[in-house]
């Protein structure tokens, strides 16, 4: 909707190649390219879903977009600035991530974890300004997590913990929010609710939201734009389009069908052949 404004142009991948370099010395002999020369766009104000079966390189691509893994080639631009060339601190002001990995929160409370999201914005004194506190309170409110703020994270359920981690990412006030399999540990209603909430957040803040999922059925129900990882003749490719169109023209079948299971675009579900 506001993709036409000058500053918010969202996420642009320019000739991005994703994969793993060899071990010590980074010899090119051992370099394993997963997807090469990607040029994709994720608009601000909308949620873009990265779809692909397990093992298709979803996480690798997402980690590269999030600069948690070096790109083999190409640029990752958010609102026109190349993330890969930024210092960690400057990058953290443009990009926030929610990962699948679990950590040991010790005695940290939900509110403390969300406040850590202000880290890249804090000055030398390290104390939270009123503006920082407002960002934290706002992030907690958006995720309906105010009641979780005084609770120790170790005592939260998976779903509550997820809300705290998303709130922490929002407290960073990023221009791009990247989430790796955010729906993986949630039940069906919570999955739909999270996707809907992310859509509202993307629109209200006019930021780009990119999330990965292998859950095609929920993604199709939510709708919107998707990047689909497809097996190619030589190497995997990524095609971008409205998810309904990807389902209708058989692209999802190409990506996901196995010898035993096939995707039915009409019902939006997988069935045994």
């Amino acid at each position: 909707m506001s993709a036409a404004t000058r500053t918010a142009v969202g996420l642009r991948l320019h000739g991005l190649s994703v994969g793993y370099r060899g071990g010590l010395g980074h010899s090119h002999r051992n370099t394993r390219t997963i997807v090469a020369d990607l040029s994709l766009t994720a608009d601000p104000g909308a949620v873009t879903m990265l779809l692909g079966p397990n093992g298709s390189g979803k996480s690798t691509l997402l980690r590269t977009v999030a600069c948690l893994q070096p790109a083999l080639a190409g640029r990752v631009e958010v609102d026109g600035a190349d993330l890969t060339r930024m210092s960690p601190r400057m990058r953290a002001r443009s990009l926030a991530v929610v990962l699948t990995e679990r950590f040991d929160p010790g005695l940290l409370t939900g509110g403390e974890v969300v406040a850590l999201g202000r880290h890249p914005h804090l000055g030398a004194s390290g104390s939270l300004s009123p503006a920082d506190r407002a960002a934290v309170a706002n992030a907690l409110a958006v995720m309906h997590a105010e009641d979780l703020a005084p609770v120790r994270v170790a005592e939260l359920s998976d779903g509550q913990r997820q809300r705290i981690m998303v709130a922490r990412a929002l407290a960073q006030q990023p221009r791009l929010l990247v989430l790796d399999e955010p729906t993986a540990f949630l039940d069906a209603p919570a999955r739909i609710e999270l996707l809907e909430r992310l859509r509202v957040i993307a629109a209200a803040r006019d930021i780009a939201v990119v999330l990965s999922t292998h859950d095609v059925e929920t993604a199709l129900r939510a709708g919107g734009v998707a990047w689909l990882i497809c097996p190619g003749a030589d190497r995997r490719t990524v095609i971008s389009g409205r998810i309904e169109d990807l389902a209708a023209d058989g692209a999802i079948n190409v990506a996901f069908d196995s010898t035993a299971v096939t995707f039915h675009p009409d019902s939006g579900t997988f069935r045994l052949r």
Binding site: L24, A66, C67, L68, S87, P88, R89, M90, R91, A92, R93, L95, A96, V97, L99, E101, F103, D104, P105, G106, L107, L108, T109, G111, E112, V113, L116, G117, H119, P120, L122, G126, L128, P130, R133, A134, V136, A137, N138, A141, V142, H144, A149, P150, R152, A154, Q172, E193, E196, R197, V200, I201, A204, R205
Partner: protein
Amino acid sequence: MTVRRAVPAAVAPTALDVPAPHTIARRSRRAAVILGALLVLAVGTALLAACVGSVGVPLAETLRVLTGQPTLDPQMGVLLTDIRLPRVATAAVAGAGLAVAGLVMQTLFSNPLADPYILGVSSGAGLGVAVVTIGSGSAASAFAAAVGGSGRLGVVGAAAVGAGAVLALVLLLGRWVRSVVALLIIGVMIGAVAGAGVSLLLAFADPARAQKFVLWGLGSVAGTDWPDLVLLAPVVLAGIVLAGTLSRSLNVLLLGERYAESMGVAVRRVRGLAITATALIAGAVTAFCGPIAFLGIAVPHLARLALGSSDHRVLVPGCALLGAAVCQLCAVVAQLPGQDGVLPLNVTTAVIGAPVVVAVLLRSRRLSAGAVT
């Protein structure tokens, strides 16, 4: 649809000055009170340690010396200034340093069992000391001569060289290592190799010289004098201050290295600085006091429990104060045999401390790197 309706009002960017939640204010006030109590504890145990020993000293005499007044009994004055107070100061510095170093390592490696020696610093120091105390042959004598002979100065110098060499090796290899677990394994392997070197030397050592090495390994805060402290205290203090400056980054590191990197922490730089702080502390303390065990692993857990927090901005001063107090108490207990001699420090730290920590942990539900809860 209820979600869609509920959220936008809260999403809209607000310029409202939201006041600090009451819980945060209450927590920080509570932390300040507890830090005050720990300060009182540290000072109290230091006074106790000054008064207790082979000869008891009245508290009034100790206070006179500390305030610069002449003592009633001149002998007491000499005993305090030349023997007791250096011992008390050494215990405070060593205890504070090892506790802070242990905290930093537990957070860096997300491992509740990490301690200041986990990267092999004490093993390197031990190998250095073993070479000067029990080594034979021209190479060993050359090394001993270079670090200041096989006397006390030589032991300190050799320990510092050994610890420094291990630190340099770990930092160097750390440049190529992405994962912190690999770094941990490298540290343990370096420690194993250094330990093998010590065993080899011990196997062929003259028993009298081997005894000297074993005594060093028992740990002591009693052997230092004021000139030693002029070297020891600033180095350890520098390590503690360095750890303190990393507090905010260490807080973010509680979420794991990936998250920390995504939140603007220069993880490699912080890792290097944390290892440097730990090595400064562990290297200096080990050089002057031997490898004092247990404090570095236990005090951070006790400090987290006392403060009820995983926030390093309060945990670093908390660990320093509690570490100093616990080390004083262990040194006092080591003096209890009175005229009959002194217990090895590592005996008291383990025998007193281990049951305390186990009891504390059994009462709580879970042991974790962030905390016992």
